[in-house]
């Protein structure tokens, strides 16, 4: 095996090894389900574009600034992410001590980034060309070509910048030459690690689980307290239960999402202990639930005081809060080591379910509930069988 296309080879091998490690049944489900969802999404977009085609054709700002800007940004984002991925392979730990020059590592990463960028640019061109064709915009192929050029320009510029930022190991202060200058950690990872350490230990009554006051914790408490007081005051001033009830719901959910950490579910210590999945999951959810409830009570009380006749509203908010907290706890148990991914997936699922509910009514919620049950089943199976 020649090492000229090493980075591309490594990425391809990792992908194929990942696919091989999956069960054929799961793979079929993912391909069939993903394919069906994609087909549905394309059909939905085509119908929506068709409905507003006349408006879109005349929107000069969209064609002159909006679309080119989006394509440049998308290309830039993709170029930066892919170049980073390729550089991480070019500086893989097993290659660090091998006689490969910085130029050679950059070249291998660039070759892989180009190879991965071409199909992405083609997808961008096809999407724009097809969109123009659907709304009967003249010169659809030319718009597709323009999309390739804009996406490619963004991709190329960001990829070159990222590739040039890599430094040789013996000349770099950082052990990871791919990381951002200044040794900053990726902020998504920092978000996942930002929770106080005692949060996940509290459930087990361990000494490490004792609540330790810190400036950050006090700041968060003051911030949430102020938000609850402001929302309650608005409701009381207007004699309207809605602001406080909504603040109670969203704030309570936010508190739950920020404080819920389920990574102990992956710990061999817990998995080999005589403790079932449901009990472990409930224990880990108990503190976030208490904090969420503590936040909810103040605005809910204010909502009730502001408009006693609308007592059903804070009550319904409470029920929705409980249901959403439970659903998020399932997402967080499934994505146990990546709370940010759990939050993003949960919010995306909620947003998508809300969007489809506008069109098809509340039957869409059955789909959301099915997704939650599926994730619950998978998390439980992983806890039991690894």
């Amino acid at each position: 095996m020649r090492h000229d296309r090493l980075v591309l080879t490594l990425i391809w091998r990792e992908l194929s090894a990942g696919l091989r490690s999956m069960r054929r049944r799961d793979l079929v489900w993912i391909v069939a389900g993903g394919g069906a969802l994609l087909a549905y999404a394309i059909a939905d977009i085509v119908v929506a574009l068709h409905a507003v085609s006349a408006t879109l054709r005349q929107a000069q700002a969209l064609w002159a600034v909006g679309l080119p800007g989006v394509l440049l940004c998308l290309g830039g984002f993709a170029g930066s992410a892919i170049a980073r991925l390729c550089l991480s392979r070019a500086f893989a730990p097993f290659l660090k001590a091998l006689p490969l020059s910085l130029m050679e590592r950059r070249r291998m990463a660039a070759v892989a980034a180009c190879a991965l960028g071409v199909p992405l640019a083609f997808i961008a061109a096809a999407a724009v060309g097809l969109g123009c064709f659907v709304i009967a915009k003249p010169l659809a192929p030319a718009w597709g070509l323009g999309a390739v050029m804009l996406f490619g320009a963004g991709f190329g510029a960001a990829a070159v910048l990222r590739l040039r930022s890599a430094r040789d190991l013996v000349l770099s202060d950082s052990a990871d030459p791919v990381s951002d200058p200044g040794g900053r950690k990726p902020w998504l990872g920092a978000f996942d690690r930002s929770t106080p350490a005692w949060l996940s230990s509290w459930a087990w009554g361990l000494p490490a689980g004792r609540v330790r006051l810190s400036w950050r914790l006090a700041g968060a408490a003051i911030l949430f307290g102020l938000a609850a007081i402001v929302a309650g005051s608005i409701s009381l001033a207007r004699h309207d239960a809605v602001p406080a009830a909504m603040a109670g719901l969203t704030g309570g959910l936010l508190v739950f999402m920020l404080s819920a950490r389920f990574h102990p579910l992956g710990s061999p210590v817990l998995r080999t202990a005589p403790l079932g999945f449901v009990r472990a999951w409930l224990r880990l959810a108990r503190l976030p639930l208490q904090l969420s409830l503590a936040f909810f009570l103040l605005p809910a009380g204010a909502a009730l005081a502001a408009e006693p006749s609308a007592w059903a509203m804070p009550l319904a908010s409470g029920f929705w809060l409980l249901a959403l907290n439970g659903a998020y706890a399932v997402f967080a148990a499934y994505f146990m080591t990546a709370p940010f991914v759990a939050a993003l997936s949960f919010l995306s699922a909620i947003a998508y379910a809300s969007y489809e509910t506008l069109e098809y009514g509340r039957t869409v919620l059955i789909g959301f509930a099915a997704l939650v049950l599926f994730l619950w089943h998978q998390a439980q199976r992983r806890y039991r069988h690894g």
């Binding site: 091998l98 490969l100 190991l169």
Partner: protein, 252 residues
Amino acid sequence: MDSSIDPAEILAVRGLSAGYAGRAVVSGIDLSLDRGDILGLLGANGSGKSTLLRAMTGQIRPLGGTVAIDGADLVRAPERAKSGFGLAVDPFDLPAALSGRQYLQLVASIRGCAEDDWPGGDVIERLGLKRWIERPIAEYSLGTRAKIAIAAALLGAPPLLILDESLNGLDPLAAFEVKRIILALASNGRHAVIISTHVVEAVPGLCNRAILLADGRMARAWHARQLAEAGKMPGVFEAEVMQALAVQAADG
């Protein structure tokens, strides 16, 4: 190459300091290795053995001092310096998605040699890797990973071979074969070997030099004659190492 450089000297480390995030883990290391030397690198956990080897192999930036391998300065000519050694990488750093054969082909391609260019015959056969070689490294046990890492380090018969605790996970047969390869490499007078290990009792029988690291500094060194003396009686060398560690701990 500098004409003042001793042609027998394979490794020249002068005043080397290295660490992470600007904090020195090892400092003031001076080390010279000639062809034919087999150096045992000893030290407790956290004493700086792996950091020293990482700095010597260009995996981290030295905070101070110089490293020259086979006459090539590691900072000024990193590729040439890295061509001068073969490092058995940490088993967990191996590319899990590749098969053993693909990994060896890759390393051979980078080093510019044939994929079976080993000193002393077919290392795959000698280390008992034949039935694993076509399988992905992800399926390997720790010992099998150590074997493939050693096989890759030996490719192209580099002048300096570096084994960072690679002997620890090997089965007796493979450990015996690796020791034979090391002794053969050193005895032909063209190679040198550095072995970082916790198996103190194995050092006098295998190495002709040894150094003990403690708190990031060189606490004691043994030359060939001292090692040979210590190796005559079982337990003597271990006692000397323990005594050096105790003295170092008392000095604080």
